[in-house]
């Protein structure tokens, strides 16, 4: 038996022994995935135990080094772990911006001390993170940010406002960009810093979106203090760190295209089938096929990229492409579902609509943000045209 197969066997046995029955089959239930933090919320009480057991094996961050609470696994071993989790339809032990964004950034740019301080708290689900990048006047023009951090002895004193801080109302710490110097080019003078949101100068106000939900916040900073040791990279060199991190974010948002429901089944349910068992409306059938083919092509491209990296090829500018196409695809797909459900897709609440139909309305409205958050589609196209194609200006 190959080493990988031995590992698979080991994982399988461990999962059988340790995975809570209540969570099996809940892989696609977002509520079953804990975000951790100082005041964790669990839709299923078993999630607390599941997080603890997974973190104990280092499998909340399978490929991170063991000394920081990771699993120390290779990409191949990680894939086996995911396959076995999928086999039992188990949710991961933990999710969040600690694992997907600040963790990888710390691994790349953090000092040894910073890694030892923060990474184990991430993998253990002890601290929940949020991101402080955008400001009201600096949307796509991120580098024009104005939130100021002034050095005072061993500390920076931070004043200003961030917006679109996703989950800030539930987070414990924030990684953010601040301006420590406004004398030079706007990209210079930006510093990447970690801030404990327990500071009384931090105020968080959720923003209500058109979907009715409030996943984002405005976050205000009034004389908030953070030690100089919380700076990642050098002071004034935050733009480099930020760009690397944006890559992680884009991949994450672009990857959201994973379908909630099967479009062909949805279409057959709402439109019926003809004598040959095909979706009855040939024009909508065509649109469904187009959407399914786009999704397949996108998924194959993600796979090709992963296979290419695994074969040792240099990474390219994939994150912009994936962010752009994945989100546009998802938005088109949501709109197609409106066409399929017709007027049943227009419900907001109350009688006359199934639960799934009401979720649809909100999901469609939520999807409109996909092409804006994490760098607009326009910004991604700018990046492709300039950095990849080398077009001037």
């Amino acid at each position: 038996m190959s080493e990988l197969e031995t590992f698979r066997e080991e994982v399988r046995q461990w999962l059988e022994a340790n995975a809570p029955q209540a969570l099996r089959g809940r892989r696609n239930d977002p509520a079953a995935v804990p975000w951790g933090g100082r005041n964790p919320r669990y839709a299923y009480p078993e999630s607390a135990d599941w997080l603890e057991r997974m973190a104990g094996r280092g499998w909340t961050a399978p490929t991170w080094p063991k000394e920081y609470g990771g699993g120390g696994l290779s990409r191949e071993h990680e894939r086996v772990l995911h396959q076995e989790l999928a086999r039992l339809e188990l949710p991961p032990g933990l999710t969040g911006f600690g694992l997907s964004m600040i963790g990888p950034t710390l691994l790349q740019y953090g000092t040894e001390e910073q890694k030892r301080e923060h990474l184990p708290k991430i993998t253990g689900g002890k601290i929940r993170w949020c991101q402080g990048y955008s400001e009201p006047d600096s949307g796509s023009d991120l580098a024009s940010l104005q939130t100021a951090a002034v050095r005072d002895g061993d500390e920076f004193v931070i004043n200003g406002q961030k917006i679109w801080t996703s989950g800030a109302d539930l987070a414990d710490w924030i990684f953010m960009l601040v301006r420590t110097d406004s004398s030079g080019k706007k990209q210079a003078g930006i510093t990447f810093i970690l801030v404990d949101m327990d500071d009384p100068g931090v105020e968080v106000r959720p923003i209500r979106l058109i979907s009715g939900a409030s996943p984002f916040c405005e976050t205000f900073f009034r004389d908030v203090r953070a030690p100089v040791g919380n700076v990642i990279g050098e002071p004034g060199d935050g733009w480099t760190v930020a760009k690397a991190l944006l890559g992680h974010e884009r991949s994450m948002i672009g990857g959201m295209a994973a379908p909630r429901v099967s479009l062909p089944e949805l279409a057959a349910e709402y439109l019926g089938r003809d004598e040959q068992g095909r979706i009855a409306d040939p024009v909508l059938r065509h649109r469904v096929a187009q959407s399914e083919m786009d999704a397949l092509s996108f998924q194959l491209t993600v796979q090709r990229n992963a296979d290419s990296l695994a074969a040792g090829h240099q990474p390219g500018p994939e994150s912009s492409m994936f962010k752009y196409y994945g989100t546009e695809l998802n938005m088109r797909r949501e709109q197609l579902m409106l066409s399929i459900r017709d007027q049943q897709a227009l419900g907001w609440e109350g009688d006359g609509y199934s639960e799934e139909e009401l979720l649809q309305t909100r999901a469609w409205l939520r999807s409109r943000a996909n092409s804006i958050e994490g760098g607009t589609s326009e910004i991604q196209l700018n990046i492709i045209s300039k950095r990849v194609l080398g077009l001037p200006g």
Partner: protein, 389 residues
């Protein structure tokens, strides 16, 4: 058919625009929504519209109306659309009122048209059966003969402005199979008749809509509207008029959303310049401008085609030409209103996604308009059929 406003029409358009703007309809809509107002519109504004004569526009003068046509109606709905005004003009005046005007007995017209025109009572059309897609010929509700009258049973949904209406024009089958063109009848049923149950539907646009259930409701011969079993053609004609009125609303909506976006492009600064100076956004804005110009033409043409056919159905060939114009307008406006509101949101960036900002309200209403009376695909197919291919 001339595609230009005559001086009287131009004046009506201006009055309508001024009045609509003065009523601050977007703010009103937001307040009504936040208060979960079940009526969904402002009765005093509705009265004021009646006082201006708008509610009488499409009705014959001997019924107390102004005897104008769809060319004038779309000027009113365009103004309403600009401000997302939630008043029940489309449903009460054009749709249900239009059917009573076209088909009503003297008694029915006397009982309902004057109160419709003065705004004191409100009609609604209960057409769409639960679980069906839009198609006037599809009818699940039934009225079964019973002595001298009928017993009506059916479950209607998506009844526009259906909550707290005073009476319903109800589409029910009195003979034939589910999709037959013959055998569909219309009844005028007061809302307080025993067996009528109305439930408010809360939709994404926060406007008044309802499920209306008829449980074995007793109907007399006096409740029949028009000829027994011959309701489909007048129903389709009324829906065509309402469809064009809705196109007027969509046109107003997209023009307003577009103008707000252009204004935003001129003022919002990024990278040290107004974002409207970015050519990629400029070209997309120009493409929307062209689409809106086309919409102006098709709405005007559809309204005037219906006016040329006249009220009594007209000759089949003219009617087919008008149907092609109506479906052309609905398909084009449906696509354009989605394009323009999607682009409005995208170009506004993050603020456009917030509930606090108005542009999201435009997008929500745009979707309801798009899917009301058949979407663009439905009307492309109907256009093709009307043109014989």
């Amino acid at each position: 058919m001339k595609l230009v406003l005559d001086p009287a029409q131009a004046m009506l358009a201006k009055t309508a625009a001024d009045f609509a703007a003065k009523q601050q309809p977007v703010e009103r809509l937001r307040a009504l929504r936040d208060a979960r107002d079940e009526l969904g519109y402002t009765p005093s504004v509705w009265s004021a519209m009646a006082d201006l004569g708008w509610t009488g526009i499409p009705f014959r003068e001997d019924d107390g109306g102004l005897g104008m046509g769809m060319a004038e109606v779309v000027l009113i709905t365009e103004s309403l659309g600009r401000g997302l005004a939630p008043e029940p003009y489309l449903s009460a005046v054009v749709l249900a009122g239009g059917l009573v005007s076209a088909l009503g007995s003297e008694a029915q017209r006397a009982a309902w048209l004057a109160p419709t025109i003065d705004g004191s009572k409100r009609l609604a059309l209960a057409q769409h059966d639960e679980g069906t897609r839009f198609d006037p010929a599809t009818c699940l509700s039934s009225a079964v003969s019973d002595g001298d009258g009928w017993r009506l049973s059916g479950r209607k949904a998506h009844v526009i402005d259906g909550f707290a209406a005073d009476a319903y024009v109800v589409v029910a089958r009195t003979s034939g199979e589910q999709h037959d063109r013959d055998g569909i009848s219309l009844f005028l049923v007061p809302a307080d008749r025993a067996g009528v149950e109305v439930t408010r539907q809360w939709r994404v646009d926060s406007r008044n809509a309802a499920q209306v259930h008829f449980a074995d409701v007793a109907l007399s011969r006096d409740d029949l509207l028009g000829e027994l079993g011959e309701g489909l053609q007048p129903l389709e004609e009324a829906i065509d008029r309402a469809t064009v009125a809705l196109c007027g609303e969509m046109l107003g909506l997209m023009r307003e959303a577009f103008e707000r976006t252009i204004e935003y492009l001129k003022t919002r600064q990024q990278f040290g310049v107004a974002i409207g100076s970015f050519q990629a956004l400029q070209h997309r804005a120009a493409e929307q401008f062209v689409e809106i110009e086309l919409c102006k033409s098709v709405v005007m043409a559809a309204a005037r085609s219906l006016d040329e056919v006249g009220g009594e159905g007209g000759e089949p060939e003219r009617r087919s030409r008008a149907v092609a114009q109506v479906s052309n307008a609905k398909a084009r406006c449906s696509d354009a209103v989605i394009l323009v509101t999607n682009e409005a949101l995208q170009m506004h960036g993050g603020v456009g996604m917030t509930d606090e900002y108005d542009i999201g309200l435009f997008m929500k209403r745009a979707r309801v308009c798009e899917l009301t009376f058949g979407d663009a695909a439905f009307h492309r197919d109907r256009f093709a059929a009307a043109r014989g291919f």
